[in-house]
Symmetry: C2
């Protein structure tokens, strides 16, 4: 049996689900931090898990070049090499080789390219991409696809999706079924709803364990991204996870979850952590700004991360100004915690529908969620493991109620404010 996915609850198009893989369970909606070269930058694996992340994303292109897929296999696979025993999804390398521009040549067979590291010549085909992902030991393999640039002429996109669909078929055929391991197809089609739907129909015909929506968040703007999700998600099978690749900002995630997406990855929280940007319930902060120099307050008083638990904005400002590695470590931990807590809040929100028959519970869950989103209720007060379980939610809700930490239910902020 491959990966397994259950939808536990629905709220409009939004879903609360559970993905089971060879390395454990992933509750959805979920954000997947990037571990491009086999490390979530500036984090230990324990630190990553402490943020609440439960699945990370490895990169076929980077790992095939260094340290090499066969070497990773000899070292026991990517999980063992990087000390991460939870699920890993690997991308197919398609997106990276496309972005090499002048260094690559596309043919029906695959993509020939030169390494950005040493100029050495490589060929990546659907078969080789899937083989590399097997050597890495990915729980979830991505089909090898071509991501058309934006903007692009419609005929070019049509040709590109046709090739991507033939590559999807070859990827699926090359994938060796193993228990708890699955392969996802990637929907392309630029900003053309009909091409997106053609892509979906053919991918579903081939049959995948999950479906990614690719080729977005590359400059088309949030409205168009959402429009493409709306044109795609309803056509995808209800019982398979949906993964919106490369997205995004917090508001993008909230909007995409409402439109039926279950999985996300993005460089934003980790890269921002290394460039002094912090996501908080107040909005994004630039820690290099001199206004933080004397501020004894934590980044976000509601946050449970190590940066907020132990340090002032003034100190984080000092570390960023001094170019200290600890700034990257703490801000990355903070941003990943913010993203994990946002997804936790979204999962929690979707659960309330399960208790719709009991108006008082449903209303109370609504209030709890609103307070999480607005920052009035610290997620630190919720038992992470408890609310991951549908059975435990009533217990937690009661506990929160009796502890009277759900306050000011009238001062609600809307769902999209986040």
């Amino acid at each position: 049996m491959s990966t397994r996915f259950e939808v536990l609850a629905r709220d409009g198009a939004a879903r609360r689900g559970r993905l089971t893989t060879a390395h454990g369970v992933v509750d959805t909606p979920v954000f997947m931090p990037l571990a491009t070269t086999g490390t979530v930058k500036a984090m230990t694996p324990e630190g990553v898990a402490a943020t609440g992340a439960r699945i990370v994303l490895g990169n076929t292109y980077h790992l095939m070049l260094r340290p090499g897929a066969e070497r990773v296999e000899r070292l026991g696979g990517l999980h063992r090499m990087m000390g991460w025993d939870r699920p890993i999804l690997t991308d197919s390398g398609g997106f990276q080789v496309m972005s090499l521009a002048s260094l690559r040549k596309i043919s029906e067979d695959g993509v020939e390219f030169r390494s950005h590291l040493d100029g050495s010549r490589h060929l990546l085909t659907p078969e080789r991409s899937v083989e590399i992902q097997r050597l890495l030991g990915a729980d979830i393999t991505m089909a090898f696809d071509e991501c058309a640039p934006f903007p692009a002429e419609r005929p070019a996109i049509e040709a590109s999706i046709e090739r991507t669909l033939r590559w999807a078929e070859r990827s699926r055929a090359a994938f060796r079924p193993r228990p708890g391991h699955g392969i996802f197809g990637i929907v392309q089609g630029g900003v053309h709803p009909d091409l997106r739907q053609r892509s979906v129909a053919r991918l579903v015909e081939i049959g995948f364990d999950g479906y990614a929506i690719g080729g977005l968040a590359i400059g088309e703007g949030q409205d168009t991204t959402f429009a493409m999700v709306e044109a795609t998600a309803p056509a995808l099978p209800e019982d398979r996870p949906r993964y919106l690749m490369g997205v995004g900002k917090p508001a993008d995630l909230v909007g995409a979850v409402r439109r039926g997406v279950d999985m996300f990855d993005c460089v934003l929280p980790t890269r921002s952590g290394r460039t002094a940007q912090a996501f908080t319930r107040e909005g994004t902060l630039n820690l290099r700004n001199a206004r933080h120099a004397d501020d004894p307050a934590p980044l976000d008083p509601e946050c449970r991360c190590p940066a907020c638990a132990g340090f002032s904005r003034a100190y984080l400002h000092h570390l960023t100004k001094s170019g200290e590695i600890l700034a990257s470590m703490l801000l990355t931990a903070h941003n990943l915690t913010y993203y994990a807590d946002l997804m936790l809040a979204l999962r929690f929100y979707n659960l309330r529908k399960q208790y719709g028959s009991n108006p008082s519970i449903s209303a109370e869950l609504d209030r709890i969620f609103t307070n999480i989103v607005s920052g009035k209720l610290s997620l630190a007060n919720l038992q992470l493991t408890g609310i991951e379980s549908t059975n435990a939610v009533i217990y937690n809700e009661k506990k929160l109620k009796s502890a009277n930490i759900v306050q000011n239910p009238t001062e609600q902020r809307s769902f999209d404010v986040y």
Copy 2:
């Protein structure tokens, strides 16, 4: 009462001691990691404590320029700002301003210099240096001194030590006694034993809570460093800690402990951690070397650090080649653990003399120590807190013996091999 120091045991000139400060106890001999700008580079405070380090060293010069001493005080002091509640020693800034060369001007009053950050003009005097260290909240303040370059003409060194002694007097006078806080004087005198002794005599006359041996490890070579320690340490008061500044390699530490030194600081373990160098029981390794690319073994199988517990040399090689921050994090943790364990072994060794009246215990302690040094006995098997206490050492020794983890007592390596 200022800082307190007790010598618990002696072995030749070597001492096993205990230094009590406002922020707790430091067992000596001890190595102090650098927290130059208010962070041990690439480490969280919890990570630093986990290596076994119990005191860190802040830098007056760097912190006065950024974030500024008065700002650190407003933020609750250096301990609170950096999240480190154990002892801190701060250097006086003397060494750093001297090394600015063309950017500084020395007078009887002090040193006028331009900041390496923005060119702004500053004056550092003995009084201001001591005031800054008070604002930072240092448990141990260092007197403001001039470190003569090496090589230097004898008349220049004589003039320099005379000025340093006048500055020592002013530093002592400027120091405000507070419970658990002390001030150390700094012995200078280049490579001239008689000048060193003149310096010692005058400093002891002034009276300090501890004495540092400065102006060494700046190019004179290990033999000369040791010769200067031998010319200095015996003249220092028995009941005060002795701190050899800026030293050094593991073999330097072992040799200096044998010659009566109690405290050390050096950039080596932290800087090496950021340049792919690891200290191990096999010697120093360069992780960038291609011979590690396929090695599934840990850096040092006897080491208890996070790098050795979770990762292969091949992965560390990959991280260093990829320029990943995690390489700096893991190798710094490893190197500081190595240094902490070396000091632990040296403290343990010196204790054996206390049990000299019982030949079987003494011999057993000898064997345990030899096995620690040779790497046959993992320090992870010793209870760090247990053997820090003189009372607990017999218990631990018996436990180790009964567990039969002290092996091959005949294959001994000498003390200096380390």
